[in-house]
């Protein structure tokens, strides 16, 4: 998924003929550990909020709990990067070159087989060419990749919710202008645009407060991905708000004198948070792959700063993956697991928040 801005592959109305991974997974026979249905009777019958019910449903779904655990492990992996690489005894920047580590004859730069594969010294081997520790780079890279994905998602979600709600609530000319802008954003070939805009933005930001260390590429990716990801969500939110503003409880709020701001933020926005939450969990993996794609193509995070896309880029740069696919397998595998976990989690959140879902 190179284009970071296509709608999430599984929007709430996915093609029903294609079973989702979760549906496939739930086809497996229920295990004895599945809590028996009557356990719901133990729950208090009253005062169960929407989020409370959703949390209950997530806890009862093995796929949801599994993906939640995997996501939590990935986040921990990123947070504990310094600790983990200290335990390993390596750091992400030290180059181990020379004939002790790297082949100097047949394929110059290819790590010797002890250093190429997982070992007690280097848990995931050494990087070809520069001889840096891949495990440490993966851990530190996870920080960069996740931070970029989370922050850009937050930017997109914020912009999309506010702009979409404004379009839906105010209607008329405001709606028309915003809707055309959304169309414009959705019609652009995003990858091309992002590819060409990122270097420009990076050079523009050069010399500003953001220009220190790895902050510049991170900030520019957050801005670019966030700024180009809001349009789809805005359109969804606009549609929701259009129908919500005609609801009687909005009229009732007007009837007791609520202000326009209070109606938007207290009455309408809480009702779209379900959709927004689902969209956000689906946008995170999209942005993770987008960051990887951009770094892989050389416009995102630059060496020596590690990110998963940058590690992929390093494996590809000198055609090292032709000598040994292992160099691709590590970052690509991590990306696949992460994206899959986030997508399954997004599915589970969507199911859990759907009041019509009969799954418990």
């Amino acid at each position: 998924m190179l284009d970071p801005h296509v709608p999430p592959s599984r929007t709430p109305r996915a093609d029903p003929s294609v079973p989702t991974a979760e549906q496939v997974a739930t086809l497996s026979p229920p295990s004895a550990t599945t809590p028996p249905a009557p356990s719901s009777a133990a729950e208090p019958a009253g005062a169960r909020t929407l989020l409370g019910t959703a949390w209950l449903r997530i806890r009862r779904s093995r796929v949801a709990v599994g993906s939640l655990v995997v996501v939590a492990l990935i986040v921990l992996f990123a947070i504990l990067a310094p600790v983990l690489s200290a335990i390993e005894g390596q750091d992400p920047y030290t180059s181990l070159t020379g004939p002790d580590y790297l082949d100097g004859v047949d394929t110059p730069g290819l790590p010797l087989s002890y250093y190429r594969y997982p070992s007690t010294d280097h848990w995931l081997g050494l990087e070809p060419g520069l001889g840096r520790d891949i495990f440490a780079r993966m851990a530190y890279g996870a920080r960069i990749s996740l931070v970029i994905a989370l922050l850009s998602t937050m930017v997109s979600v914020f912009l999309g919710t506010v702009i979409g709600a404004a379009a839906g609530y105010f209607g008329g000319k405001v709606d028309m202008v915003i809707s055309r802008v959304m169309d414009l954003f959705l019609a652009f070939p995003h990858l091309l645009l992002v590819l060409s805009l990122t270097p420009i933005l990076q050079s523009r930001l050069g010399g500003t407060a953001l220009d220190s260390g790895s902050l510049l590429p991170v900030a520019s990716l957050v801005i670019i991905l966030g700024f180009f990801g809001w349009a789809y969500l805005a359109r969804v939110v606009r549609g929701q708000v259009l129908s919500l503003r005609e609801q009687e409880f909005v009229e009732a709020a007007r009837a007791y004198g609520a202000s326009r701001r209070s109606i938007i933020f207290r009455q309408i926005i809480p009702n779209v948070m379900g959709v927004v939450l689902v969209y956000a969990t689906m946008l995170i993996p999209t942005n993770i792959t987008a960051e990887a794609a951009l770094s892989f193509l050389g416009v995102g995070v630059k060496d020596p700063t590690p990110s998963w896309g940058q590690i992929l880029n390093a494996a590809q740069a000198g055609n090292w993956y032709l000598s040994d696919p292992w160099f691709l397998a590590v970052p690509a595998g991590a990306l696949v697991i992460t994206v899959l976990a986030f997508n399954l989690l997004g599915d589970a959140v969507r199911d859990a928040l759907d009041p019509k879902s009969s799954r418990h």
């Binding site: 005062a47 009687e248 007007r254 009837a255 009702n271």
Partner: protein, 337 residues
């Protein structure tokens, strides 16, 4: 009009509301007049599309900032609400004039506890702490007859029964002690026993607070039970105004007579109901003459076919005017009730 106190609380003069649509202007209200004193209850009766709800929306100013065209005066304590902007109107809504909706489930926010919503309505017009607003909401919940109000404060609308929800809705509307309460079919969604409880509650609270009430309904039974005065609406016009007793005893307008005739009688012995034939006029192109002429059984009694060419004025004795060319009312058929 029946109780000519110094100045009426509410004085609506020639209220007209129309909505532009793709097919043309829809004339929903076409010159409505209404006066209401403090503490009085007036019923607005009419079938669907007669302009009852649009009138109450116009009163609340809910049609401001929409495409609807509202003309005429809505004088509340001498202040013309129709001349106010949306922002100015906000100070009146809830504080001076409040509204109860037909379906309390859809009129309450599904995500907030009932008490929080009542407290919110209180806080809009009273600068108090959250705690004080919550206390006011609990107090109000108790006053509308919800048992254990402190615990019920945290319940969500869907956890209430229909009657409880309507009680909560009433609490929400009355928490700021408005001078005028508009009840838009407050009992339509309820079953009959609960309906009676809610009407009793409204009467009690009204006696307690002196709030004037506009009861919008299509149920003549509700009108008979709680209203002092009745306004019968047809095609966006008031066709007859009378005290409840007069209206049931001596309906003057043929439409009112038709309405009363089409009610099932409690003493009836399997007699067939007599529905009013035909359909209400299209609000897109109102007939020049009487709006009811096409369905009226008495047009033959009026000379020159005036019913179809000239619209009658609201005329007759001050306490019981009707909008009909027949100067003398037709002998009313006997009305059971």
């Amino acid at each position: 009009m029946t109780t000519p106190h110094a100045a009426p609380l509410l004085d609506i003069r020639d209220l007209r509301v129309s909505f532009p649509t793709d097919d043309g202007l829809v004339h929903a209200v076409n010159g409505m007049d209404l006066r209401l004193s403090r503490g009085e209850t007036v019923g607005i009766v009419g079938e669907s599309g007669s302009g009852k709800t649009v009138t109450s929306q116009a009163l609340m100013g809910l049609l401001k900032d929409t495409s609807a065209v509202v003309t005429g005066q809505i004088l509340l304590d001498g202040q013309d609400l129709n001349a106010l902007t949306e922002a100015q109107m906000r100070a009146y809504r809830g504080k001076k004039i409040a509204m109860i909706f037909q379906d309390p489930l859809s009129a309450m926010h599904p995500f907030y506890p009932v008490g929080v919503q009542i407290a919110e309505a209180y806080r809009v017009h009273n600068t108090v702490t959250r705690k004080a607003a919550a206390a006011a909401a609990v107090d109000m919940l108790g006053r509308v007859g919800i048992p254990d109000p402190r615990r019920r404060y945290d319940a969500y609308p869907h956890e209430f029964s229909g009657g409880m929800r309507q009680r909560a809705m009433i609490a929400m509307a009355l928490v700021c002690e408005p001078e005028l309460l508009i009840a838009d079919e407050p009992t339509t969604a309820l079953d009959v026993t609960v309906q009676a409880q809610i009407l009793d509650l409204l009467s009690e609270l009204q006696a307690e607070t002196g709030t004037a009430v506009i009861m919008v309904t299509h149920d003549l039974g509700v009108v008979a039970e709680v209203c002092h005065q009745v306004v019968v609406m047809y095609g966006g016009l008031c066709v007859e105004r009378a005290t409840v007793a007069d209206l049931f005893k001596e309906p003057r307008h043929p439409y009112t007579q038709g309405l009363l005739d089409s009610m099932p009688s409690l003493t009836g012995t399997g007699e067939r109901l007599r529905p009013i034939p035909g359909f209400p006029p299209s609000l897109l192109a109102l007939p020049e003459g009487c709006l009811f002429a096409d369905r009226c059984p008495h047009t033959g009694l009026v000379p020159d076919g005036a019913c179809h060419t000239r619209r009658p004025e609201l005329a007759g004795p001050g306490t019981h005017p009707s909008r009909c060319h027949l100067t003398r009312p037709q002998p009313a058929r006997e009305v059971a009730r």
